[in-house]
Symmetry: C2
Subunit: 196 residues, 2 copies
Amino acid sequence: METTRLQQKQQTRQKILAAAYRVYAQKGFSAPTAAIAKEAGVSHGSIFAHFASQAQLVEALLEQFGTQLGAGLHDLAENNADLQGLLRAHLALLARHEQFYLHLITEKGQLPPQAKLTFANLQSVAAYHFGRVLQHTAAAQNGVPPYMLFNTWMGLVHYYLMNKELFSPDAPLLPRYTDELVHTFLTLAQIGEEQK
Amino acid sequence: METTRLQQKQQTRQKILAAAYRVYAQKGFSAPTAAIAKEAGVSHGSIFAHFASQAQLVEALLEQFGTQLGAGLHDLAENNADLQGLLRAHLALLARHEQFYLHLITEKGQLPPQAKLTFANLQSVAAYHFGRVLQHTAAAQNGVPPYMLFNTWMGLVHYYLMNKELFSPDAPLLPRYTDELVHTFLTLAQIGEEQK
DNA sequence: CTACTCATTGAGTATATACTCATTATAATT
DNA sequence: AATTATAATGAGTATATACTCAATGAGTAG
Protein backbone atom coordinates (compact mmCIF):
# COMPACT_ATOMS: atom_id res chain seq x y z
CA MET A 1 0.00 0.00 0.00
CA GLU A 2 1.91 2.86 -1.49
CA THR A 3 4.79 3.20 0.92
CA THR A 4 7.63 3.21 -1.61
CA ARG A 5 6.08 6.16 -3.39
CA LEU A 6 5.69 8.21 -0.23
CA GLN A 7 9.22 7.40 0.83
CA GLN A 8 10.52 8.48 -2.55
CA LYS A 9 8.67 11.74 -2.27
CA GLN A 10 9.97 12.55 1.18
CA GLN A 11 13.42 11.54 0.08
CA THR A 12 13.31 13.92 -2.86
CA ARG A 13 12.10 16.66 -0.56
CA GLN A 14 15.03 16.07 1.74
CA LYS A 15 17.45 15.97 -1.18
CA ILE A 16 16.19 19.39 -2.22
CA LEU A 17 16.47 20.80 1.30
CA ALA A 18 19.97 19.40 1.74
CA ALA A 19 21.02 20.78 -1.64
CA ALA A 20 19.51 24.16 -0.77
CA TYR A 21 21.56 24.22 2.44
CA ARG A 22 24.78 23.55 0.53
CA VAL A 23 24.05 25.97 -2.29
CA TYR A 24 22.95 28.76 0.03
CA ALA A 25 25.95 28.14 2.28
CA GLN A 26 28.24 28.58 -0.69
CA LYS A 27 26.52 31.18 -2.87
CA GLY A 28 24.11 32.92 -0.53
CA PHE A 29 20.35 33.13 -0.57
CA SER A 30 20.10 34.81 -3.93
CA ALA A 31 21.33 31.66 -5.65
CA PRO A 32 18.81 30.67 -8.34
CA THR A 33 16.46 27.78 -7.71
CA ALA A 34 17.87 26.14 -10.84
CA ALA A 35 21.23 25.78 -9.08
CA ILE A 36 19.55 23.98 -6.20
CA ALA A 37 17.79 21.58 -8.55
CA LYS A 38 21.08 20.83 -10.24
CA GLU A 39 22.87 20.26 -6.92
CA ALA A 40 20.05 17.99 -5.75
CA GLY A 41 20.08 16.05 -8.99
CA VAL A 42 16.40 16.67 -9.69
CA SER A 43 14.59 18.65 -12.34
CA HIS A 44 13.94 22.33 -11.87
CA GLY A 45 10.22 21.76 -11.89
CA SER A 46 10.50 19.23 -9.10
CA ILE A 47 11.28 21.97 -6.63
CA PHE A 48 7.90 23.53 -7.26
CA ALA A 49 6.18 20.18 -6.96
CA HIS A 50 7.44 20.11 -3.35
CA PHE A 51 7.38 23.78 -2.43
CA ALA A 52 4.80 26.24 -3.68
CA SER A 53 7.44 28.94 -4.05
CA GLN A 54 11.09 29.71 -3.43
CA ALA A 55 10.01 31.55 -0.28
CA GLN A 56 8.40 28.41 1.13
CA LEU A 57 11.49 26.39 0.36
CA VAL A 58 13.59 28.88 2.34
CA GLU A 59 11.06 28.82 5.16
CA ALA A 60 11.15 25.04 5.36
CA LEU A 61 14.93 25.05 5.28
CA LEU A 62 15.19 27.58 8.09
CA GLU A 63 12.61 25.74 10.11
CA GLN A 64 14.76 22.63 9.90
CA PHE A 65 17.98 24.53 10.57
CA GLY A 66 16.41 26.36 13.50
CA THR A 67 15.24 23.15 15.10
CA GLN A 68 18.66 21.60 14.75
CA LEU A 69 20.61 24.59 16.03
CA GLY A 70 18.07 25.18 18.77
CA ALA A 71 18.67 21.66 20.06
CA GLY A 72 22.39 22.35 19.96
CA LEU A 73 21.96 25.50 22.03
CA HIS A 74 19.90 23.61 24.54
CA ASP A 75 22.70 21.09 25.00
CA LEU A 76 25.21 23.89 25.45
CA ALA A 77 23.35 25.31 28.36
CA GLU A 78 23.03 21.94 30.08
CA ASN A 79 26.68 21.05 29.79
CA ASN A 80 28.35 24.35 30.57
CA ALA A 81 27.91 25.96 33.91
CA ASP A 82 30.84 28.34 33.53
CA LEU A 83 30.94 31.23 31.11
CA GLN A 84 34.12 30.34 29.30
CA GLY A 85 32.88 26.84 28.54
CA LEU A 86 29.59 28.22 27.28
CA LEU A 87 31.23 30.75 24.99
CA ARG A 88 33.60 28.19 23.52
CA ALA A 89 30.85 25.65 23.01
CA HIS A 90 28.73 28.32 21.37
CA LEU A 91 31.44 29.18 18.87
CA ALA A 92 32.13 25.50 18.21
CA LEU A 93 28.45 24.99 17.44
CA LEU A 94 28.32 27.97 15.09
CA ALA A 95 31.57 26.88 13.47
CA ARG A 96 29.86 23.73 12.25
CA HIS A 97 27.58 25.93 10.17
CA GLU A 98 29.86 28.90 9.65
CA GLN A 99 29.22 29.49 5.95
CA PHE A 100 25.48 29.01 6.13
CA TYR A 101 25.19 31.04 9.32
CA LEU A 102 27.24 33.82 7.80
CA HIS A 103 24.93 34.15 4.83
CA LEU A 104 22.00 33.93 7.17
CA ILE A 105 23.03 36.97 9.19
CA THR A 106 24.30 39.00 6.25
CA GLU A 107 21.26 38.39 4.06
CA LYS A 108 18.57 38.23 6.70
CA GLY A 109 16.90 41.20 5.05
CA GLN A 110 16.07 39.32 1.87
CA LEU A 111 14.59 36.30 3.61
CA PRO A 112 10.82 35.81 3.58
CA PRO A 113 9.13 37.17 6.73
CA GLN A 114 8.33 33.74 8.13
CA ALA A 115 11.98 32.74 7.87
CA LYS A 116 13.00 35.92 9.69
CA LEU A 117 10.69 35.01 12.52
CA THR A 118 12.17 31.54 12.77
CA PHE A 119 15.63 33.04 13.04
CA ALA A 120 14.51 35.63 15.58
CA ASN A 121 13.12 32.81 17.74
CA LEU A 122 16.48 31.10 17.57
CA GLN A 123 18.11 34.24 18.97
CA SER A 124 15.60 34.25 21.80
CA VAL A 125 16.42 30.68 22.67
CA ALA A 126 20.12 31.53 22.78
CA ALA A 127 19.49 34.62 24.89
CA TYR A 128 17.54 32.57 27.39
CA HIS A 129 20.22 29.95 27.81
CA PHE A 130 22.97 32.52 28.12
CA GLY A 131 21.04 34.56 30.64
CA ARG A 132 21.49 32.09 33.46
CA VAL A 133 25.25 32.04 33.22
CA LEU A 134 25.70 35.72 32.46
CA GLN A 135 23.87 36.94 35.53
CA HIS A 136 26.73 35.73 37.69
CA THR A 137 29.32 37.93 36.00
CA ALA A 138 30.88 40.98 37.55
CA ALA A 139 29.41 43.17 34.84
CA ALA A 140 25.91 42.03 35.72
CA GLN A 141 26.57 43.09 39.33
CA ASN A 142 27.60 46.51 38.05
CA GLY A 143 24.47 47.48 36.19
CA VAL A 144 24.79 45.74 32.83
CA PRO A 145 21.79 43.43 32.56
CA PRO A 146 22.40 39.91 31.21
CA TYR A 147 20.56 40.58 27.98
CA MET A 148 22.91 43.47 27.23
CA LEU A 149 25.86 41.19 27.84
CA PHE A 150 24.29 38.69 25.49
CA ASN A 151 23.80 41.37 22.85
CA THR A 152 27.40 42.46 23.28
CA TRP A 153 28.60 38.90 22.76
CA MET A 154 26.41 38.30 19.74
CA GLY A 155 27.37 41.67 18.33
CA LEU A 156 31.04 40.87 18.63
CA VAL A 157 30.72 37.45 17.05
CA HIS A 158 28.48 38.69 14.23
CA TYR A 159 30.76 41.66 13.62
CA TYR A 160 33.67 39.32 13.06
CA LEU A 161 31.63 37.06 10.80
CA MET A 162 30.28 39.94 8.76
CA ASN A 163 33.77 41.29 8.26
CA LYS A 164 35.19 37.93 7.42
CA GLU A 165 36.73 39.35 4.24
CA LEU A 166 38.81 41.52 6.50
CA PHE A 167 39.61 39.13 9.34
CA SER A 168 39.92 35.74 7.63
CA PRO A 169 39.20 35.91 3.90
CA ASP A 170 39.98 32.30 3.07
CA ALA A 171 40.07 30.06 6.13
CA PRO A 172 37.09 29.55 8.45
CA LEU A 173 36.93 32.46 10.85
CA LEU A 174 35.50 31.09 14.07
CA PRO A 175 38.17 28.48 14.87
CA ARG A 176 40.83 31.07 14.21
CA TYR A 177 39.38 33.78 16.44
CA THR A 178 37.78 31.73 19.19
CA ASP A 179 40.51 32.49 21.73
CA GLU A 180 40.56 36.18 21.01
CA LEU A 181 36.78 36.56 21.09
CA VAL A 182 36.38 34.54 24.28
CA HIS A 183 39.25 36.30 26.02
CA THR A 184 37.90 39.73 25.14
CA PHE A 185 34.41 39.04 26.31
CA LEU A 186 35.49 37.28 29.48
CA THR A 187 37.76 40.14 30.41
CA LEU A 188 35.06 42.75 29.78
CA ALA A 189 32.41 40.84 31.68
CA GLN A 190 34.63 39.66 34.50
CA ILE A 191 37.11 42.42 35.18
CA GLY A 192 35.76 42.77 38.69
CA GLU A 193 36.40 39.14 39.53
CA GLU A 194 39.70 38.74 37.78
CA GLN A 195 41.17 41.58 39.79
CA LYS A 196 40.33 39.48 42.87
CA MET B 1 32.12 79.53 -23.54
CA GLU B 2 29.96 76.60 -22.60
CA THR B 3 29.68 77.02 -18.85
CA THR B 4 25.92 76.64 -18.53
CA ARG B 5 26.03 73.27 -20.20
CA LEU B 6 28.73 71.91 -17.90
CA GLN B 7 26.94 73.21 -14.86
CA GLN B 8 23.75 71.54 -16.00
CA LYS B 9 25.57 68.27 -16.44
CA GLN B 10 27.17 68.32 -13.01
CA GLN B 11 23.86 69.37 -11.53
CA THR B 12 22.10 66.40 -13.11
CA ARG B 13 24.82 64.13 -11.83
CA GLN B 14 24.32 65.43 -8.32
CA LYS B 15 20.56 65.13 -8.62
CA ILE B 16 21.03 61.47 -9.50
CA LEU B 17 23.43 60.85 -6.61
CA ALA B 18 21.15 62.62 -4.15
CA ALA B 19 18.16 60.66 -5.41
CA ALA B 20 20.13 57.42 -5.18
CA TYR B 21 20.94 58.21 -1.55
CA ARG B 22 17.27 58.75 -0.72
CA VAL B 23 16.01 55.73 -2.64
CA TYR B 24 18.67 53.41 -1.25
CA ALA B 25 18.09 54.75 2.26
CA GLN B 26 14.43 53.90 1.96
CA LYS B 27 14.33 50.76 -0.19
CA GLY B 28 17.83 49.34 0.06
CA PHE B 29 20.47 48.81 -2.57
CA SER B 30 18.42 46.44 -4.68
CA ALA B 31 16.08 49.27 -5.64
CA PRO B 32 15.88 49.44 -9.44
CA THR B 33 17.72 52.20 -11.28
CA ALA B 34 14.38 53.24 -12.75
CA ALA B 35 13.23 54.25 -9.27
CA ILE B 36 16.27 56.46 -8.87
CA ALA B 37 15.63 58.15 -12.19
CA LYS B 38 12.06 58.83 -11.18
CA GLU B 39 13.10 60.21 -7.79
CA ALA B 40 15.70 62.42 -9.46
CA GLY B 41 13.23 63.65 -12.05
CA VAL B 42 15.38 62.59 -14.99
CA SER B 43 14.98 59.95 -17.65
CA HIS B 44 16.10 56.40 -17.01
CA GLY B 45 18.66 56.64 -19.77
CA SER B 46 20.19 59.72 -18.19
CA ILE B 47 21.63 57.62 -15.38
CA PHE B 48 23.71 55.66 -17.87
CA ALA B 49 24.85 58.84 -19.58
CA HIS B 50 26.48 59.77 -16.27
CA PHE B 51 27.49 56.37 -14.90
CA ALA B 52 28.64 53.51 -17.06
CA SER B 53 26.75 51.04 -14.89
CA GLN B 54 24.69 50.73 -11.74
CA ALA B 55 27.82 49.52 -9.98
CA GLN B 56 29.68 52.71 -10.81
CA LEU B 57 26.79 54.79 -9.57
CA VAL B 58 26.91 52.96 -6.26
CA GLU B 59 30.67 53.40 -6.12
CA ALA B 60 30.42 57.12 -6.72
CA LEU B 61 27.70 57.41 -4.10
CA LEU B 62 29.70 55.56 -1.50
CA GLU B 63 32.78 57.55 -2.32
CA GLN B 64 30.85 60.72 -1.59
CA PHE B 65 29.22 59.30 1.52
CA GLY B 66 32.53 57.99 2.78
CA THR B 67 34.22 61.35 2.38
CA GLN B 68 31.43 63.09 4.23
CA LEU B 69 31.21 60.62 7.09
CA GLY B 70 34.99 60.40 7.28
CA ALA B 71 35.16 64.13 7.84
CA GLY B 72 32.53 63.79 10.54
CA LEU B 73 34.58 61.10 12.29
CA HIS B 74 37.63 63.29 12.14
CA ASP B 75 35.75 66.08 13.90
CA LEU B 76 34.55 63.67 16.58
CA ALA B 77 38.05 62.74 17.51
CA GLU B 78 39.18 66.35 17.74
CA ASN B 79 36.34 67.48 19.96
CA ASN B 80 36.00 64.56 22.33
CA ALA B 81 38.81 63.66 24.64
CA ASP B 82 36.67 61.51 26.92
CA LEU B 83 35.16 58.21 25.96
CA GLN B 84 31.56 58.97 26.79
CA GLY B 85 31.59 62.11 24.67
CA LEU B 86 33.13 60.23 21.79
CA LEU B 87 30.59 57.42 21.91
CA ARG B 88 27.66 59.82 22.06
CA ALA B 89 29.01 61.93 19.24
CA HIS B 90 29.59 58.80 17.19
CA LEU B 91 25.99 57.68 17.59
CA ALA B 92 24.72 61.19 16.86
CA LEU B 93 26.71 61.20 13.65
CA LEU B 94 25.42 57.80 12.57
CA ALA B 95 21.89 58.79 13.55
CA ARG B 96 21.96 61.48 10.86
CA HIS B 97 22.29 58.69 8.30
CA GLU B 98 20.59 55.89 10.17
CA GLN B 99 18.48 54.49 7.34
CA PHE B 100 21.21 54.66 4.73
CA TYR B 101 23.83 53.32 7.11
CA LEU B 102 21.57 50.47 8.10
CA HIS B 103 21.13 49.34 4.53
CA LEU B 104 24.82 49.78 4.01
CA ILE B 105 25.79 47.34 6.73
CA THR B 106 23.01 44.85 6.07
CA GLU B 107 23.54 44.72 2.31
CA LYS B 108 27.28 45.19 2.18
CA GLY B 109 27.56 41.81 0.50
CA GLN B 110 25.74 42.90 -2.62
CA LEU B 111 27.75 46.08 -3.13
CA PRO B 112 30.34 46.22 -5.90
CA PRO B 113 33.87 45.40 -4.67
CA GLN B 114 35.11 48.97 -5.01
CA ALA B 115 32.27 50.21 -2.82
CA LYS B 116 33.10 47.57 -0.21
CA LEU B 117 36.65 48.86 -0.11
CA THR B 118 35.48 52.41 0.38
CA PHE B 119 33.36 51.30 3.31
CA ALA B 120 36.18 49.23 4.79
CA ASN B 121 38.41 52.30 4.68
CA LEU B 122 35.80 54.22 6.58
CA GLN B 123 35.90 51.62 9.33
CA SER B 124 39.66 51.98 9.48
CA VAL B 125 39.37 55.71 9.91
CA ALA B 126 36.94 55.23 12.75
CA ALA B 127 39.13 52.60 14.39
CA TYR B 128 42.09 54.95 14.28
CA HIS B 129 40.27 57.83 15.89
CA PHE B 130 38.77 55.63 18.59
CA GLY B 131 42.08 54.00 19.36
CA ARG B 132 43.54 57.05 21.06
CA VAL B 133 40.73 57.37 23.55
CA LEU B 134 40.21 53.66 24.12
CA GLN B 135 43.77 52.97 25.16
CA HIS B 136 43.17 54.85 28.39
CA THR B 137 40.36 52.58 29.54
CA ALA B 138 40.63 50.07 32.33
CA ALA B 139 39.92 47.23 29.92
CA ALA B 140 42.90 48.21 27.80
CA GLN B 141 45.08 48.01 30.92
CA ASN B 142 43.76 44.51 31.50
CA GLY B 143 44.73 42.89 28.24
CA VAL B 144 41.99 43.89 25.83
CA PRO B 145 43.69 45.83 23.04
CA PRO B 146 42.01 49.03 21.82
CA TYR B 147 41.09 47.52 18.47
CA MET B 148 39.16 44.76 20.23
CA LEU B 149 37.32 47.37 22.25
CA PHE B 150 36.53 49.18 19.02
CA ASN B 151 35.27 45.96 17.47
CA THR B 152 33.12 45.32 20.50
CA TRP B 153 31.59 48.78 20.27
CA MET B 154 30.95 48.53 16.54
CA GLY B 155 29.58 45.05 16.97
CA LEU B 156 27.14 46.20 19.61
CA VAL B 157 25.96 49.19 17.58
CA HIS B 158 25.65 47.19 14.36
CA TYR B 159 23.87 44.38 16.17
CA TYR B 160 21.22 46.78 17.35
CA LEU B 161 20.87 48.34 13.92
CA MET B 162 20.63 44.99 12.18
CA ASN B 163 17.96 43.87 14.59
CA LYS B 164 16.05 47.10 14.31
CA GLU B 165 12.86 45.17 13.54
CA LEU B 166 13.19 43.72 16.99
CA PHE B 167 14.41 46.71 18.98
CA SER B 168 12.69 49.67 17.34
CA PRO B 169 10.58 48.67 14.34
CA ASP B 170 9.12 52.08 13.57
CA ALA B 171 11.01 54.91 15.23
CA PRO B 172 14.70 55.63 14.60
CA LEU B 173 16.76 53.28 16.72
CA LEU B 174 19.91 55.17 17.61
CA PRO B 175 18.38 58.12 19.48
CA ARG B 176 16.26 55.69 21.47
CA TYR B 177 19.09 53.40 22.52
CA THR B 178 21.99 55.82 22.82
CA ASP B 179 21.92 55.86 26.63
CA GLU B 180 21.72 52.10 26.95
CA LEU B 181 24.46 51.43 24.41
CA VAL B 182 26.81 54.03 25.86
CA HIS B 183 26.18 52.94 29.43
CA THR B 184 26.80 49.30 28.61
CA PHE B 185 30.02 49.91 26.79
CA LEU B 186 31.35 52.38 29.34
CA THR B 187 30.67 49.98 32.16
CA LEU B 188 32.36 47.08 30.39
CA ALA B 189 35.39 49.11 29.41
CA GLN B 190 35.71 51.07 32.62
CA ILE B 191 34.71 48.74 35.43
CA GLY B 192 38.16 49.00 36.93
CA GLU B 193 38.03 52.77 37.18
CA GLU B 194 34.43 53.11 38.24
CA GLN B 195 35.06 50.87 41.20
CA LYS B 196 37.67 53.47 42.28
C1' DC C 1 20.68 83.41 -38.30
C1' DT C 2 22.78 79.01 -39.20
C1' DA C 3 25.35 75.10 -38.14
C1' DC C 4 26.98 72.26 -34.74
C1' DT C 5 27.85 69.94 -30.36
C1' DC C 6 26.32 67.41 -26.72
C1' DA C 7 23.23 66.50 -22.66
C1' DT C 8 18.90 64.27 -22.39
C1' DT C 9 15.23 61.25 -23.66
C1' DG C 10 12.44 56.88 -23.60
C1' DA C 11 11.11 53.19 -26.36
C1' DG C 12 13.40 49.03 -27.34
C1' DT C 13 16.73 44.96 -26.37
C1' DA C 14 18.98 41.44 -23.72
C1' DT C 15 19.14 38.62 -19.85
C1' DA C 16 18.18 36.37 -15.66
C1' DT C 17 15.19 33.74 -13.22
C1' DA C 18 10.76 32.32 -10.77
C1' DC C 19 7.14 29.56 -11.90
C1' DT C 20 3.76 26.61 -15.11
C1' DC C 21 1.90 22.68 -17.29
C1' DA C 22 1.37 19.16 -20.72
C1' DT C 23 3.91 14.97 -21.01
C1' DT C 24 6.40 10.90 -19.26
C1' DA C 25 7.61 7.32 -16.12
C1' DT C 26 6.65 4.54 -12.30
C1' DA C 27 4.30 2.64 -8.43
C1' DA C 28 -0.25 1.08 -6.68
C1' DT C 29 -4.64 -1.19 -7.47
C1' DT C 30 -7.96 -4.09 -9.83
C1' DA D 1 -2.02 -7.59 -17.38
C1' DA D 2 -4.49 -3.65 -17.63
C1' DT D 3 -5.80 0.49 -15.45
C1' DT D 4 -5.24 4.22 -12.52
C1' DA D 5 -2.87 7.60 -9.63
C1' DT D 6 0.85 10.43 -8.93
C1' DA D 7 5.86 11.80 -8.74
C1' DA D 8 9.01 13.82 -11.77
C1' DT D 9 10.32 16.19 -15.99
C1' DG D 10 11.93 20.21 -18.77
C1' DA D 11 10.64 23.11 -22.41
C1' DG D 12 8.00 27.14 -22.32
C1' DT D 13 5.97 31.63 -20.21
C1' DA D 14 5.90 35.79 -17.56
C1' DT D 15 8.23 39.38 -15.41
C1' DA D 16 11.67 42.33 -13.70
C1' DT D 17 15.25 45.15 -14.69
C1' DA D 18 20.00 46.66 -16.42
C1' DC D 19 21.51 48.78 -20.31
C1' DT D 20 21.38 50.70 -25.50
C1' DC D 21 20.86 53.93 -29.09
C1' DA D 22 18.59 56.66 -32.56
C1' DA D 23 16.05 60.80 -32.06
C1' DT D 24 15.38 65.38 -29.78
C1' DG D 25 16.30 69.92 -28.51
C1' DA D 26 18.72 73.36 -26.04
C1' DG D 27 23.09 75.83 -25.48
C1' DT D 28 27.33 77.49 -28.19
C1' DA D 29 30.08 79.39 -31.87
C1' DG D 30 30.89 81.62 -36.32
